[in-house]
């Protein structure tokens, strides 16, 4: 059970790179735990050792919306990548495209992936350079806006992912309610 995601307002930080993979998001030396916690401090570890890395910039402090390049989250199925992003403090990732398994993992952890066009993402990346750029992301209305105008873009969330996020649904509990159907399937197929 995770916190529902309905609407979020937060500071934007940009990481203008394509194909950021799960090994970058959380390098494998940090995957050896058996808990779901403690991944936040090691988010992007191998890049963060570089003082010039975007998230090390003082203005990145407190950012909760990450704007980045296409095919974000490619690579492994490890949910640790999503846990690390969430535990670091991100609530929204904006990118032109995402890897499929990563998307599925986001919906189950209260992290909203927002797909915008490449040109909208480029605009946000430029806007975020000010270091104090904020956006409002509304999942109910499926729209991203800058409150003082200047940016507004609707997006299409995956319908099921949207429901998981809006309701913070216990998916297992819900499926267990289908017990009869599952039993019927097993009878007829196994």
């Amino acid at each position: 059970m995770v916190n529902p995601f309905v609407r979020h307002r937060g500071k934007v930080v940009a990481l203008p790179r394509a194909n950021i993979d799960t090994d970058q998001i959380i390098p494998k030396q940090f995957l050896k735990g058996i808990d779901r916690t403690g991944f936040g401090p090691n988010l992007f570890h191998d890049w963060r050792v570089n003082p010039d890395f975007e998230l090390n910039h003082p203005t990145a402090e407190g950012a909760t919306i990450l704007v980045t390049g296409p095919n974000f989250g490619c690579g492994s199925s490890r949910e640790h990548a999503v846990w690390a992003l969430v535990q670091y403090g991100f609530r929204v990732i904006v990118a032109p495209s995402f890897a499929d398994i990563f998307l599925a993992n986001c919906y189950r952890n209260g992290l909203l992936p927002v797909r915008l066009t490449e040109s909208d993402v480029d605009r946000l990346i430029r806007n975020a350079a000010s270091g104090s750029y904020e956006l409002v992301v509304d999942l109910e209305e499926q729209i991203v806006t800058h409150e003082r105008g200047g940016f507004s873009s609707p997006f299409n969330a995956d319908p099921y992912g949207r429901q998981l996020l809006l309701r913070g649904l216990d998916e297992i509990g819900r499926t267990l309610l289908e017990e009869e159907r599952i039993v019927a399937y097993e009878r007829s197929h196994l």
Binding site: N19, D23, Q24, H80, E171, I172
Partner: protein, 465 residues
């Protein structure tokens, strides 16, 4: 409408259509390993839930296990913790485990097929993206996250929206020295690492039919590197011959019935796909990657590309970053790039045929002076079989280290890692920054190409060896 192979397998597994465009699907086989499962078991325990179908669940340890001496305790306490947790969890929930000392232990995607547990028409899931490997048998096999692992453990079902279907038709005859790995790398080079996002790939064409079962696994394995959810190949006589007599395959009278059923898992002649791409196998040469994604790949006769030549700003930027990371200059011929390490292993290329092919290149030769080379069989069975065939001697005599089974340097979670700036010829599937160790530089290629590189000490065209 005439269904595709994927349509058929999907349809057979629908328990119920749910709202919001998703279906509840029944999972036939759930494979579990030590890295992505502990939190799922903890979740079950916290909610007081049980594993619905322990007999449809198989576990092994592969990702972070040491590949050295198995009689010693695991030196890394955190690795040991995950291995011990899986042991305790599988005991508590009644799941069969092929543990560290089992003669059947190995990389999860190697042992599933090897046991005959992977079968045509199944829906197979595992908390690992390379679950796509099992699609080589005509199964719908997908990688899932830990929350979904917990869901499958508790319900034996998974909630999915149906991906689209991309036909990849590979035709023509491969030249000698060109392998299944080269076909899939060339395909990824052609369509890009996000080329099949949102799709499952069905591989068709005479070049696919001509592949052995193990070669088909190599192709399906890297479907995920093309962005696909899964890869499938319709089962045929090659598939059945591979499965016959395996411990978990149907036996006796069941075998005939199973085969009959499996033959129905195919696309109708007039079936329609959402998209089709083609590849001419006769035009593919041995491939090597030059960058930090599997799509940054070229023929061994090619050169390191000039980032300025790429069409879009984001590609130019990515290529520039990749070359800086890889320590390569534009225009450098790929053949001749010196290497420090060689890794023969992973769920892509560590089955017996891979080891045989690599051994045939290595036999009677010696690893170059400055190169450290490693063979990590995909499973303990593969290892034992290779030893029966004397392949271990061939590798050892040539100066390779001969290890126990595991993922090893594919992802560098155990002690087998690249040092900063070390360059490696690898038969695995990912060349991301830091994948094989922080600062390590990976060139992906086939087992014969990696073996030849080990001997020469640099990237080299294996054709004509």
């Amino acid at each position: 409408m005439s269904p595709t192979l994927f349509d058929r397998v999907w349809r057979e597994h629908v328990v119920e259509e749910l709202a919001d465009g998703v279906s509840l699907l029944y999972v036939d086989l759930h494979l579990v390993h030590e890295v992505t499962s502990p939190q799922a078991f903890a979740g079950l325990r916290r909610e007081g839930r049980r594993v619905r179908r322990p007999e449809r669940t198989l576990a092994t340890v592969d990702h972070n296990v040491p590949t050295g001496d198995r009689s010693l305790p695991i030196a890394d306490p955190v690795s040991a913790l995950q291995v011990d947790s899986l042991d305790a969890n599988t005991r508590e929930f009644g799941i069969e485990l092929f543990g560290l000392t089992s003669p059947r232990q190995g990389i999860v995607h190697v042992i599933g097929p090897e046991l005959g547990a992977t079968q045509p028409g199944m829906l197979i899931v595992c908390g690992d993206s390379h679950t796509s490997t099992h699609g080589a048998f005509g199964a719908f096999a997908i990688g899932i996250g830990t929350s979904e692992v917990e869901h499958v453990l508790a319900t034996q079902c998974i909630v999915l929206s149906k991906p689209k279907n991309l036909e990849t038709r590979i035709t023509g005859c491969r030249a000698p020295g060109v392998t299944a790995k080269d076909l899939i790398l060339a395909l990824i080079g052609k369509i890009g690492t996000a080329g099949a996002t949102g799709h499952v790939i069905e591989y068709t064409g005479d070049a696919i039919r001509a592949l052995s079962m193990e070669e088909r696994m190599t192709v399906c394995n890297m479907s995920i590197e093309a962005g696909a959810r899964a890869g499938l190949i319709a089962p045929d006589e090659v598939t059945f011959a591979y499965l016959e007599g395996r411990p978990r395959a149907p036996q006796g009278k069941e075998w005939g019935r199973a085969q009959e059923r499996w033959r129905t898992y195919r696309s109708d002649p007039g079936a329609t796909y959402d998209a089709t791409v083609t590849l001419d196998a006769s035009r593919v040469g041995p491939q090597v990657t030059w960058g930090t994604t599997p799509g940054m790949v070229a023929d061994i006769t090619g050169r390191v590309p000039d980032p300025a030549q790429f069409p879009t700003a984001s590609e130019r930027e990515a290529a520039t970053r990749a070359l800086a990371y890889m320590g390569l200059e534009p225009g450098t011929p790929l053949e001749g790039i010196p290497i420090d390490r060689v890794f023969l292993g992973s769920c892509t290329n560590a089955r017996i045929e891979d080891l045989r092919a690599a051994a045939s290149v290595v036999r009677g030769r010696h690893v170059a002076a400055r190169v450290r080379a490693l063979v990590v069989p995909g499973s303990q069975r593969v290892k034992a079989q290779a030893e029966d065939e004397g392949l271990d001697r061939v590798f050892r005599d040539a100066g390779f280290e001969w290890r126990n089974a595991g993922c090893s340097m594919c992802l560098g979670m155990n002690d087998d890692v690249l040092g900063e700036g070390e360059r490696c010829a690898a038969t695995s599937n990912r060349n991301f920054e830091g994948r094989q160790g922080k600062g390590g530089r990976t060139h992906l290629m086939s087992p014969v190409m990696a073996a030849a590189a080990a001997i020469e000490g640099h990237l080299v065209d294996v054709r004509g060896w």
